[in-house]
Every structure is written in C-alpha cells, then in structure tokens.
Symmetry: C2
Subunit: 256 residues, 2 copies
DNA sequence: CGGCCGGTTGAGTACAATCAATTCTGGTGG
DNA sequence: CCACCAGAATTGATTGTACTCAACCGGCCG
C-alpha cells in the first residue's frame, strides 16, 4: 500500500519554509534532509485528487496528514447560514490535516488536480517521538502557517474591498516569486468565487473590484487567470508595502 | 539574571493545550512534565509588564519567546492607514513571540498587568534539539494557536456585527469554562475598543451591537466587564453552535 | 471642580450585499 | 469547424448595515 513512488516531486515529503528564528533574507529552504524525507516516505503513500474533490470533511476522524506535492487545496468552514468561508489556501510543500483534535476542524477540497503524500498520524507520531530534528522542522512550518493565518485575519479586517483584493494579489505574487516562477503576470489558480470566499466579499464584489483597479490603471486583467500589476507604487499604497509588513526585506510570509 | 522564581504559577513555564490527535473530550492538560518545566525554568527569567506596556514591536529582532503566567496580551499589526488590527489575544499558558523570521511580525502589548516567562530563543532552540518530547508539546500548542487563528479569520469573515460579537463572547466564555472559572457571567478583561479591533468593527459599532443584543433580551450587560447570556438558544443561533463548530462535544478551540 | 478617558448615542453617508439579468468562455459533440 | 451548452464572470438597480463625525455622558483622579 505505501507506494514509495518518486514522481517529479522527489524522494519523499517536502516541507519547505523559513526557519522562524534565523534572518534568512527570505530564502526558503527545504527543511528536510534527504534522509528524513526517505524515512517519511516509508510511511507515506501518494494520493491524487481531481479538481473539485473533497479530501476530508469537518468532523471526520483526523487520522491522516497530507503534504502537497502539486496542486492547490482549500480549507473551508461552514457558517451557520450555510455559507462557507475559506480559511486557507494550501499549496505545494504545505502540510495540512493536522489542525484537529481527533477530528478535522475544517473541510479540505482540491481546486485543481492534486497529488499529495498521505501520512498516517499514528506512524508520524511514532516517528516524531524519536526524531527531534524532524519535529523542529515541523515547528518551523507551523510557525509559518500561523503567521500566514494571522496575515489572513489582517486582510479580512480591512474594510475596503480594493485593499483586500490588492493584499490578496500581493500574497499570491510573493508566493510565486518565492517559488521562483516567472512573474510578469500574477497567475491565479483559483476562480473568482474562491477569491471572494478567501477575502470575505461576494463574487460580484470581486468582479467590480477588479474592474475598479483596472479603471484606475493599477492592474491589467489579461484573462481570468492572469493579472499584471501596472502601477506598482499605487498598488502598494493600497495593499501596504510587503517589506514594511514583515519587517525584513524580501521576507516571504506566504506559504511554500 | 535568570530568576528561577516560583510565583503562584508553579515551578516553571507551562504550556497547556490539547493534543491535536487524541480525542480528549476537550479537557486541557498541562503538556509539560515537572521535569520539563524545571529544565525550561533554568533558562527562563520572569518579567512583568504594566497594563498598556508594549512588550515588543513589529520588526524588532526576535530573540526571546514569552510564556504567559498571568494577564492578557494582545498582538497587533499596523494597517497602512495607521489603524491597528489585533491578530490575537494571548492568555495564561500561551506562547508568543515565535512567529517571526528573525524579527517579530507583530506588536505585543499588555492590556492588563502581565507576568511571563521570558525564554531566550538560542537557549530554547538548543534545548529543543535534544528534547523530542518538549518539541512535540510545542507542536501541539502551535496546532492549537493555528486553529485559533483560523477561527478568528472565520469570525472576521462574518458580515453581521451581531454574529461577530456573539462569536466573540462565545470564545471568551469557552475560555473561561476551560480555565475552570465560575461563569455565570462572561468576564471581559479587555475594553470595548480592543473588542472592536479584534472582531473588526468600530468602537461605536461594538456599543450598538451590545445594545442590540440587550434589547432583544439575549444578553444582559451587568457592567463594562461582565455580560450574562440570558437566552442561550437565541444566542447560539446567532453565534453558531460551538459543539458543531469543532466537531467534538466540549472541544475547546480557545487558547488557555 | 475640571479634565480626561472610556463608552454611548445620534444623523447622514458610503460601500458592499442582494437579486437578477446578461455576457463571456471553454469544452463537447455534431 | 461550428453550434451549442453550462458554468463562470460581469454588470445593473436597489437596499441595508456599519462607518464617519460629532455630541454627549459618567466615572475617576488629580
């Protein structure tokens, strides 16, 4: 059952993040050594999900943790009124499924095709008890996810829709820079309604807000998935300077 | 310099949380053994802050971590427009100051008198590398703080002010129950403007919203700091049932 | 007593939600 | 290759909620 395959992703789970205590100039490292990855790989299997597929539901017994290889996953919570709200975008190298207390506290859904390592909690936990280094790396990753969640909360606290959207675009862009991808345009793997759920405005408002930024000459929407930032200074006046934000030049508070 | 004092808090840092992988019926445990606490105490000193005092600022070098003994701390971020937004309430047994990347990513301020253990990062890190168990407990704590941050984001995504306030009161109440405190009334250690900053509405709106809930007979505001929930069913219809929320009866997603 | 701080209340406004109609886009099959 | 379809996205008109600004209250401390 454990298929220790090595697809394009390499020989086992990867957890990439920055060490929260070292001023690393924002570079992001693979936290795990090949050795650790191999040890994790032994207990892992690779699973694939189709676009739109639910990976687990709020309340399900939380007996596996996932580590994304490729694709994008979203974590949702259901509001009383039936509306869902997204609490996180999960991207390659992210760890998810561990925020429960015996149960998952949110629902995870693939919004693109996804490949991920699937790690049974019992095995992982066993391994952890013997491996201080691995644990430390997981601590680093969790610090990062925590920071990220706080950033998200900060975004949600903004009143203006333009600010929210600009901050969101900034997140995504930083993310892509960190990934080392070509970023003349910002690439948006999610659709408008996902964005709306993440930044806490309606689909209609997302659309209007894109238009507003376009009208003002700040961005240019190439197509649904590609946006270019034309007026950098105006853009950062709205979104807030990311460098100021995180306290260190080129710090990359976004996951991955 | 390390004053290994044992005030009312006991013989060293405490990290209380629930193990995220064990369905523990919501009971919260001291995660650290006396032994561990003693080892941590060796590297810790106790610091005290007055109400209103800033503990550290966004951008400061992050060389110490804190573990609250008594009191309430808030973590802020500054918005572009000068407004601040609160990203977390930190309470006894909570760990804070570790979300940086060489630097603190937010500003911490005591909103009551605070006593805390002060742990130098270098020493802590050193210790961690040798102590798998301690690391595991920190992982548990981080999972909890992450869950909490996601809950906060969820709260902020709500559109109606009443819902936000009700959810907030629910948080605080659960917190007090977890602490084992007497809770005929909900006790609010923070003032109205802090609440507003946390739930993302203005001071004026907080006031109106309290009134609205009072008018409807759902709560009764004894004084600035004490609120009683009169109509439980109506209250939970607005806030969302906390049991549903976390998937397990009496799960306590709030810190403490 | 006076000033200050935290909180409450009021009037008017702005921004995003809502509901609903319409257009655009990408994919499928003839 | 085109026609068609379904889902995604845009746009419009209206409404409501919370913001803004400002006045006011009440306790506390000097």
């Amino acid at each position: 059952m454990p298929k220790i395959q090595t697809p394009m992703a390499g020989p086992g789970p990867t957890i990439r993040a920055v060490d929260p205590w070292t001023p690393s100039a924002g570079r992001m490292h693979h936290l795990l050594t090949d050795d650790e990855r191999a040890r994790l790989a032994v207990m892992a299997s690779i699973v694939r999900f189709k676009k739109g597929e639910v990976i687990y539901r709020e309340g399900d017994p939380a007996d596996v943790v996932f580590n994304i290889i490729t694709g994008v996953v979203t974590a949702y919570r259901k509001a009383l009124d039936g509306n869902e709200h997204m609490v996180a975008f999960l991207l390659p190298d992210d760890l998810f499924g561990l925020s429960g207390e015996g149960r998952y506290t949110n629902t995870a859904r693939a919004i693109t095709a996804v490949a991920a390592y699937r790690l049974p909690v019992t095995a992982l936990r066993n391994r952890l008890s013997k491996d201080a280094e691995l644990e430390f790396h997981i601590i680093c990753k969790l610090c990062q996810e925590l920071r990220q969640a706080q950033r998200h909360a900060f975004l949600l606290s903004q009143r203006s829709a333009v600010t929210k959207l600009a901050m969101f675009l900034q997140f995504i862009e930083q993310l892509q820079i960190a990934k080392g991808e070509q970023t003349a345009d910002v690439y948006l793997p999610m659709d408008r309604s996902d964005i709306g759920e993440y930044i806490g405005i309606t689909l209609a408002a997302v659309s209007r807000t894109f238009r507003s930024l376009t009208m003002r000459g700040i961005i240019k929407v190439r197509d649904r998935r590609h946006v270019r930032i034309l007026d950098r200074t105006a853009f950062e006046k709205i979104a807030g300077d990311p460098i100021e934000e995180s306290g260190v030049a080129s710090a990359l508070p976004m996951r991955r």
